[in-house]
């Protein structure tokens, strides 16, 4: 296929070994979907992100999956990737140690987006220190540095060098830092390039990507523990704000019959699809939808463009589907604004979990949700809290309890 060749020319430039080259050929020939898309739509570093991290696993994407994927990737090539992978200038400045702090503050005032000061342990005799600063591409670096030096009182402009930032450098670096995490006994979250330490346990394989949900964060843990308690078998599950899809995948592993994940970020949807494939979950059990953020959310231009492109997925739920279990692990403000929407997806007597909130924000959420839910219980890890409206509160109850779902409500017997 012609597309094979175009794909090869893109990322397999300087950095890829020949070994990777052949592995990619096999990946391409087996997953038709990926190859047509990659050649045309994805920015090269994103393909490295999703394909090169683990050369030994082949994403199993059934043929019927590939079509929605292509549409998903079309939207990907537009705004959110462009901000994610937008070029930036990285400047390395040498300046005397004693004014490093003040100088970096001054740089921030005059246009730098970030400054990093390395701690020098090997106290060398030179009293100079390096500040690495990141500027947006449009910024005039010379002017900024001279203004900052002036305001701090430096007699001469410190020496510096400018280079354009490399994208997949930092993307790769963050991914390297993931290790398998044991959320609770018998449940592990394993990055795709590591082997699961306990093969018999429930292992959720993830490629963390750039979407939220690696299993390490307290809120993910709280939600996973909640899911373990709530899911008995056969439920329909809605992951509101799915991120990497970890909660939806976990629900299916615990025994739910059907999972739906929704998110406003196209990168999250891609990441979740990828992770579902890694866990051998097909579209009959797992669906993803990209919704437009018309109520909540900040940065205007990204989301406006997403709204224009939502025509590809059936976002407007014509039949109002109801779910047995819903978990929303987002942030305080979206939870407050979307309260009605979240609860509208629940059938009478469903269980709802809310997280992504700090302990101090709990009263606010309780206020907002008490007219809609009853029996709200709160569990906390560190500073983070998770609310749920089921009866299960503490682990200290050693006696056996049974939770029965009935059409009218959830009954707990102790």
């Amino acid at each position: 296929m012609n597309s094979n060749q175009t794909f090869i020319s893109a990322p397999l430039g300087k950095k890829m070994a020949l070994r990777h080259f052949f592995k990619h050929l096999t990946i391409l020939t087996s997953s038709y979907g990926f190859c047509t898309l990659s050649s045309r739509f994805i920015h090269p570093s994103l393909t490295t992100l999703f394909n090169n991290i683990n050369p030994k696993s082949q994403p199993l994407i059934p043929a019927k999956f590939s079509l929605p994927l292509s549409h998903c990737y079309t939207s990907l090539s537009h705004p959110s990737t462009s901000t994610l992978l937008s070029p930036y200038l990285s400047v390395r400045i040498r300046c005397p140690k004693d004014i490093a702090d003040v100088f970096s503050e001054a740089l921030m005032c005059f246009g730098a987006s970030s400054t990093t000061v390395d701690e020098d342990d090997n106290c060398d005799t030179s009293n100079e220190i390096c500040i690495e600063s990141i500027f947006p591409e449009s910024e005039d670096v010379d002017v900024c540095i001279s203004l900052a030096a002036d305001s701090v009182g430096l007699k001469m402009i410190p020496s510096y060098e400018v280079k354009t930032g490399e994208h997949y450098d930092w993307i790769k670096k963050t991914q390297e830092s993931f290790d398998p995490v044991e959320v609770t006994e018998g449940l592990w979250i394993v990055p795709v390039w590591k082997t699961p330490p306990d093969v018999k346990a429930t292992n959720i394989i993830l490629n963390p990507g750039l979407a939220f949900g690696t299993g390490e964060h307290p809120t993910t843990r709280l939600c996973l523990l909640l899911l373990q308690r709530l899911i008995i078998g056969g439920e329909r599950f809605l992951d509101y704000g799915t991120g990497s899809g970890i909660l939806a995948i976990a629900a299916l592993k615990f025994g739910a019959s059907f999972s739906v994940g929704i998110d406003i970020d196209p990168l999250a949807i891609t990441s979740a699809r990828h992770n579902a494939a890694l866990n051998d979950i097909g579209p009959e059990n797992f669906q993803l939808r990209l919704v437009s953020s018309n109520t909540s959310s900040p940065s205007a231009d990204e989301h406006k463009d997403i709204q224009e492109q939502t025509s590809f997925e059936a976002v407007a739920e014509s039949e109002h589907e109801t779910y047995d279990v819903i978990v929303a692990n987002i942030l305080l403000n979206p939870l407050l604004e979307l309260a009605d929407d979240i609860v509208s997806h629940a059938r009478p007597g469903a269980a709802i979990g809310l997280s992504g909130i700090l302990s101090e924000q709990v009263p606010c959420i309780i206020d907002r949700y008490s007219p809609l839910l009853d029996n709200i219980s709160v569990s906390e890890i560190d500073d983070w809290a998770c609310l749920s409206d089921t009866m299960v509160t503490s682990y200290n109850i050693l006696s056996i309890f049974a939770v029965t779902h009935t059409r009218t409500g959830i009954n707990v017997h102790f």
């Binding site: 005032c109 701690e119 990141i134 909130i357």
Partner: protein, 155 residues
């Protein structure tokens, strides 16, 4: 301010990172991404944490964050409220201060505005020991360097 135990168990610091991030809008994109990624810090954890803590601010207010990255890939961060100059510009509705402060007055603000700004600033970690009056005085000082005049009442 730190206890003896904290000093003894202090982790070695790898770097100090300063960033300006819009409130509730931290994403793994530049500038957050490259700056934190370099030290292998968990980007998404920072974004989630930062967004949760800045929920009470209006979206897109530029917050200044100082992150201390430790050698074991963990980190701590403090969030400071936006700079006084930013607040003054918002209150006055202008884009930039006057080009010749001291000579040219860009706009005027009433004492009420200053008071409101001072109240927000008081919750900042480094202003907590100052009296409201002294915070107001320093804000008025900043305003005059920008060419903003402060009057008792705006008519």
């Amino acid at each position: 301010m730190s206890t003896l135990k904290e000093i003894l168990t202090r982790r070695p610091v790898a770097a100090t990172i300063r960033l300006t991030v819009p409130a509730g809008g931290a994403r793994p994109a530049p500038p957050v991404g490259p700056a934190l990624g370099q030290y292998r810090l968990n980007l998404m954890a920072f974004c989630k944490d930062f967004n949760a803590r800045t929920q009470k601010y209006k979206p897109d207010t530029p917050m200044s964050v100082t992150i201390t990255a430790f050698k074991d890939n963990t980190f701590e961060f403090t969030v400071k409220s936006p700079s006084v100059t930013w607040y003054l510009k918002k209150a006055a509705g202008i884009e930039s201060g006057s080009s010749r402060p001291g000579h040219l007055v860009a706009t005027t603000l009433s004492v009420r505005h200053i008071y409101e700004i001072a109240k927000i600033k008081q919750s900042d970690p480094y202003c907590q020991y100052m009296s409201l009056e002294s915070i107001c005085k320093s804000i008025i000082g900043t305003a005059s360097t920008m060419g903003i005049k402060v009057v008792k009442d705006l008519d």
